[in-house]
């Protein structure tokens, strides 16, 4: 145990009845340990007293022992069969080191320990049922499973202590909510046990303590992190090679370096580039457990000096001494940076050294702000998922299976006692109603009864982690699998003809069959799949605002001493201004054109931009009746709009938006978005409406969202979107700032800032609000694509085949320059020859007259006439009638639709 030294003095004075058992002190002494760390000194007495406790400290400050020492002490004083202590930790933190430590402690004290999780062998599980260990190390999912076995439930009666490790990781998710409800279920068997939460630094300790203990009093012991951090920020060039060199400059120096990157692919490519240095390895979640453990061991033993890893390394896996932590690219959040850099040093009192290597202006500014906040200890809040309908539904089903049947009152009392449970019986009843719809439970008067489906559902839904299936993509041309598509795409966007980009290539969807998406290569442009990057961390509002302020004040020296960074940043801003761009800051919002559409540069973070971007898309799609594409990151919102929509239009909508309407608009219109549909399906799964392996080929996918219009599912979908994806309050704040003149809205020429490739973006498409508008929008596109034959009725010697979109406002004969041009359908070529014959009979003269009428319309009304004439079944008579209505825009389109509908009614096919 490297992080404890010999104890030389007795433990702090405390109540006589609450002392650490001498056997433990003996063990500690025998191992040669001395002082207790600060967190241990503060925590141990409180736990010995019987307090519920939230323990907040950086990694490597002896948190685990702070809990284990007093708990083990207590365990020695208890007797009997069954589990005494549950040590709950996420699976990826469950590593051999924790287990070895637990085993070591227990063995030396005559206690038994065991571990149980998804991969535990049957033999081991059976052993635990017959001879329950005093200390059980397990995962949140497996805690759910413990309630499903009769004998296991018996063993739960003796639980006196529950330790929740990495609680900061759990608290902000539905997994955490599910766990704390499970703890209330546990109380019914074990009575009030003692709760201890171990956490990294969070911005809102009281709330997390409340999360853990509900209404019960809970003490907090917190060790500040800031004094332990030494963070530097560097800038490198855009090229991958210069980034690799920047990293290498550091790895060559130190004895042991941990490099955190944000994606697995970056881990692989960086690893590959550094591999020739020899003592480098890679660690990320896609690798097998053995490979990862191997890498951890080699690093620990000093065989490799550098380990490149993703967030898989964030949790407390012990890899020995880390001298230096490099964060490659902005860490996005202060808490992330703090946790990662906290891996360095790893000895009590030692300073953790870290460097952020950035590339690009946004990356640099963001990192400077995050580093500064980390030094101040300004870590983000972790917000639990309160009253999440699907979590509660899942637990009701679990309770039904656990008891067979139980009264609604009892269920309510269990759930309402937890910090995240619902508070009124009506909501509970509504959720119960929902579950009965999906045959998960039955209701009989005041009792809930399990069904045959429930157990199977539970086994497939022990976890609240949304599963995202991957569907292989099969190219029928090369007959090979060329990649995978996420389930989210399948649910929201799959249809024959959909075009998407994968591996830099364009593909067209043909079909979903036998679980595979068949595709063929496509040539047409404009293929973007919706995505909301579940793994990507959103940049918080405060950080984005501060980046905005930094852009305005340019006080880079306050954030760093690195001259290269300061020069780069100021140089970049100067260059933007030299090119007539206006710099968007916390007080200036710029709107500009880019190749892809209209860009709003607003420094407000992902979730606020998500809210603003969606409101604007919804309003634009309603006003202009067109589909609108939306992409965004923390600093910009890109709107893909049809040609008719200008920067001025977007600006107009933005400045006339009443902030108080934002929430209402979103609530009304979110349903049309892909994000909503996807979330709806995920939540439906948790309510038991859709099985994890449901066969999507069995129904028309685009109707799936309509199917799931149940109130509870919808409500939870809205709740999740409004709390996790969209930050409406800050969006309102920004809008109010605009109205109050605190934030200026300025139109800017295209700038480097607006044109930058979106930096970890979210993407979606918002269709027009009504079918009617959608039809009009599609009509415009159809007419644009219509082939038309332009034929000169003056010289009679010129014709040109083109599409309507390419026709100029006033077409001109390429031969004689006249404007008397007839617009014909391509199959009417023959009519032109007939009209130009030297001698014509009666019929042929009539044809000529028709063409001349046509050409006269084009002469007087220009392209508008051509558009009308390209509609189905519209000849000169109908066209002149439509022109005589003097309508334009959508009204004109409606006239055309009327004419086409009329054509249908009198179709020759009806005989």
């Amino acid at each position: 145990m490297e992080h404890m030294q010999e104890i030389s003095t007795p433990i702090l004075p405390m109540k006589k009845t609450h002392q650490v058992d001498t056997r433990i002190l003996d063990v500690i002494r025998d191992r040669g340990f001395s002082e207790l760390s600060e967190v241990q000194q503060q925590a141990i007495p409180k736990i010995l007293q019987g307090d519920h406790l939230l323990l907040i400290a950086p990694t490597g400050t002896g948190k685990t022992e702070s809990a284990m020492i007093p708990v083990l002490s207590g365990m020695l004083a208890t007797e009997g069969k069954g589990f005494t202590t549950l040590y709950i930790t996420p699976l990826r933190a469950l590593n051999r080191d924790i287990l070895r430590r637990m085993e070591w402690w227990c063995q030396n004290l005559g206690l038994t320990s065991g571990v149980r999780h998804g991969d535990t062998s049957q033999a081991e599980r059976r052993k635990q049922v017959l001879h329950p260990p005093d200390l059980l190390v397990t995962t949140p999912e497996t805690v759910q499973a413990l309630f499903m076995g009769k004998r296991l439930r018996e063993h739960l009666r003796s639980v006196r202590y529950v330790i929740v490790d990495e609680i900061h990781d759990l608290a902000g998710t539905k997994r955490g909510a599910q766990l704390v409800i499970a703890l209330e279920r546990l109380v019914r068997y074990a009575g009030e046990f003692q709760r201890i939460g171990l956490s990294a630094t969070v911005g809102n300790p009281e709330e997390i303590a409340g999360f853990l203990a509900g209404e019960r009093p809970c003490s907090i012991v917190e060790v500040p992190v800031a004094k332990y951090l030494d963070i530097k920020v560097e800038i490198t060039g855009e090229k991958f090679d210069s980034q690799v060199n920047a990293v290498r400059r550091h790895t060559k120096k130190g004895p042991s370096t941990l490099i955190f990157v944000n994606t697995r692919s970056t881990a692989e490519s960086l690893g590959h580039a550094l591999m020739r240095d020899g003592d480098v390895d890679v660690h990320h979640g896609s690798l097998s457990r053995e490979v990862r453990i191997e890498a951890e061991d080699r690093f620990k033993r000093g065989e490799i000096k550098t380990l490149i890893c993703t967030s898989s390394m964030e949790l407390g896996i012990d890899i020995g001494h880390v001298e230096h932590v490099i964060q490659f690219g902005s860490p996005r959040e202060v808490s992330r940076l703090v946790q990662r850099i906290g891996r360095a040093g790893h000895q009590i009192g030692k300073v953790s050294k870290g460097t952020i290597i950035t590339c690009g202006f946004d990356d640099l500014c963001e990192s400077l702000v995050i580093a500064s906040r980390a030094r101040q200890g300004a870590v983000e809040d972790v917000i639990p998922s309160y009253q999440a309908g699907d979590v509660i539904g899942n637990q009701i089903a679990a309770i039904a299976v656990e008891y067979g049947e139980l009264s609604i009152d009892d269920i309510f009392s269990i759930i309402s006692k937890s910090s995240v449970g619902i508070r009124d019986v009506e909501t509970l009843e509504a959720i119960i109603g929902q579950l009965t719809e999906h045959y998960l439970i039955r209701r009989d008067g005041n009792r809930i009864i399990t069904t045959s489906r429930a157990r199977r559902y539970l086994s497939g839904n022990l976890s609240m982690i949304p599963d995202e299936r991957k569907f292989p993509v099969y190219d029928i041309v090369t007959r090979r699998t060329v990649g995978t598509l996420d389930e989210s795409f399948i649910i929201t966007s799959l249809h024959t003809g959909a075009v998407f980009i994968a591996r830099g290539q364009l593909w067209r969807v043909l079909d979903l069959e036998e679980g595979k998406v068949t595709v063929e290569p496509a040539r047409n442009a404009d293929g973007e799949l919706p995505s909301w990057e579940g793994e990507q961390i959103p940049v918080p509002y405060e950080i984005a605002r501060e980046v905005g302020r930094l852009r305005r004040t340019r006080e880079f020296e306050r954030y760093t001493e690195d001259q290269a960074s300061i020069a780069f940043a100021t140089g970049f801003l100067d260059l933007v201004q030299k090119n007539h761009g206006i710099i968007p800051t916390d007080q200036i919002l710029t709107i500009e054109y880019s190749e892809e559409g209209v860009v709003l540069n607003v420094c407000a973070g992902h979730q606020t931009n998500e809210a603003i971007g969606r409101v604007l898309s919804i309003l634009l799609s309603a006003r202009f009746g067109s589909t609108i594409g939306l992409e965004l990151d923390a600093y910009r919102i890109l709107l893909r709009v049809p040609r008719e929509i200008s920067v001025a239009d977007v600006r107009d909508i933005l400045t006339s938006l009443d902030p108080d309407h934002i929430r209402g608009i979103l609530e009304l219109a979110m349903k049309r978005t892909s994000l909503f549909k996807w979330k709806l399906v995920q939540i439906s799964k948790k309510f038991g409406a859709i099985d994890p392996d449901a066969d999507y080929e069995r129904l028309s996918l685009h109707r799936l969202a309509d199917l799931l219009s149940h109130p509870q599912i919808q409500e939870e979908t809205y709740r999740e979107l409004f709390t996790r994806y969209m930050d409406v309050s800050h969006a309102i704040g920004i809008m109010r700032g605009i109205h109050a003149g605190e934030i200026q809205v300025v139109t800017s020429p295209p700038s480097m800032i607006g044109g930058a490739a979106l930096f970890s973006s979210s993407r979606d498409r918002i269709p027009p609000p009504t079918a009617d508008q959608a039809v009009i929008s599609a009509l415009k596109t159809r007419l644009d694509r219509q082939e038309v034959l332009l034929a000169c009725m003056n010289c009679r010697k010129w014709k040109s085949k083109t599409v309507v979109a390419r026709v100029p406002d006033q077409p001109v004969c390429g031969n004689c320059g006249a404007r008397l041009i007839a617009a014909l359908k391509p199959y009417e070529t023959e009519l032109y020859s007939i009209a130009n014959k030297k001698t014509k009979n009666q019929e042929e003269k009539a044809i000529e007259q028709k063409l001349i009428r046509n050409a006269n319309m084009v002469l007087s009304s220009g392209k508008k006439a051509i558009i009308i004439l390209s509609a189905k079944g519209v000849g000169p008579e109908t066209a002149s009638r439509i022109l005589a209505t003097y309508t334009n825009g959508d009204a004109l389109m409606r006239e055309i639709l009327k004419a086409e509908r009329n054509f249908v009614k009198t179709h020759r096919f009806w005989q």
């Binding site: 719809e437 999906h438 045959y439 998960l440 489906r453 966007s493 249809h495 024959t496 003809g497 959909a498 043909l510 040539r523 047409n524 442009a525 404009d526 067109s626 589909t627 594409g629 893909r640 709009v641 049809p642 040609r643 038991g688 409406a689 859709i690 099985d691 392996d693 449901a694 066969d695 069995r698 129904l699 028309s700 685009h702 109707r703 199917l707 799931l708 498409r765 269709p767 027009p768 508008q773 959608a774 039809v775 929008s777 599609a778 596109t781 159809r782 694509r785 309507v804 979109a805 390419r806 189905k872 079944g873 639709l897 086409e900 509908r901 249908v904 009614k905 179709h907 096919f909 009806w910």
Partner: protein, 252 residues
């Protein structure tokens, strides 16, 4: 011949000597089947029955023709179907006479119908209109006529400048290759086809896929160049051939 479209079904009414309302593909009992495939939702059978009855009230036909696939499960009849089909037919019989052209999902449907309500599955004529479900080669009697069929559940994705604006059930109207009736047709372009969209909200096949890989004799023999797409309310939505042709240059 007078044509009226009813998007609430969806259904179409054809008036010659009498007013005949056409519907297709009700697929009662589909929810029970979907349970097997991982979807657990309550049946919407009653809603469907109500919708059909409201449609009859709105359209005021003299006769209703259901173009097949009224039930869903093959083989056999689930309890849900048993109950709901009884309910459906008794509701309809109260308000309108009807006939059925059995579809591939309809084995066993004869248990629920009177003999005079059933027509040949390969097709028959009513007035000058040919009717069949659409999973078989059509009876030669139908040659030269306007044929109405179901079976194909056509759905179209309409795109605008930015993306898919709307996905909607649709009709497909066109001409079929006379070779489907005989080796040696004396003329082409006499037999016309109107594919009717499905009444069931959960079913639908994208036409983009159906006409690239046709799965029935009728869809195989449709002349794509002259076929048209109609929305349930009769709006013209484009010709099929342009809709399928992706490799055109897109403007702008």
């Amino acid at each position: 011949m007078n044509i009226e479209f009813f998007p609430s079904g969806p259904g179409v009414l054809v008036e010659e000597e009498q007013r005949i309302l056409f519907l297709a593909d009700i697929h009662m009992g589909i929810e029970h089947e979907l349970q097997k495939y991982g979807f657990h939702i309550r049946t919407r059978g009653q809603d469907r029955i109500r919708r059909i009855c409201d449609l009859v009230t709105e359209a005021q036909p003299d006769l209703m023709v259901i173009l097949g696939d009224i039930k869903h499960r093959i083989p056999g009849t689930s309890y849900q179907e048993f109950f709901e089909l009884g309910s459906l037919f008794s509701a309809i019989r109260k308000i309108i006479p009807f006939i059925v052209t059995p579809g591939n999902h309809d084995p066993g449907i004869e248990e629920f119908l009177k003999p005079e309500e059933m027509r040949k599955k390969e097709g028959s004529l009513i007035g000058s209109i040919g009717i069949l479900h659409g999973h078989t080669i059509p009876d030669p009697d139908l040659q030269g006529h306007l044929i109405l069929c179901g079976h194909h559940h056509p759905v179209v994705s309409l795109t605008d400048q930015v993306g898919v604006a709307l996905k909607s059930p649709c009709f497909i109207l066109g001409e079929i290759d006379e070779h489907i009736f005989t080796q040696d047709p004396d003329e082409e372009g006499r037999t016309r086809l109107l594919m009717v969209p499905s009444c069931n909200e959960l079913t639908g096949y994208g036409i983009e896929k159906t006409f690239r890989s046709p799965f029935s004799p009728l869809s195989r023999s449709l002349h794509i160049e002259s076929a048209e797409i109609l929305l349930p309310d009769g709006t013209y939505a484009g010709d099929l051939h342009s809709h399928l042709a992706y490799e055109k240059d897109t403007p702008g």
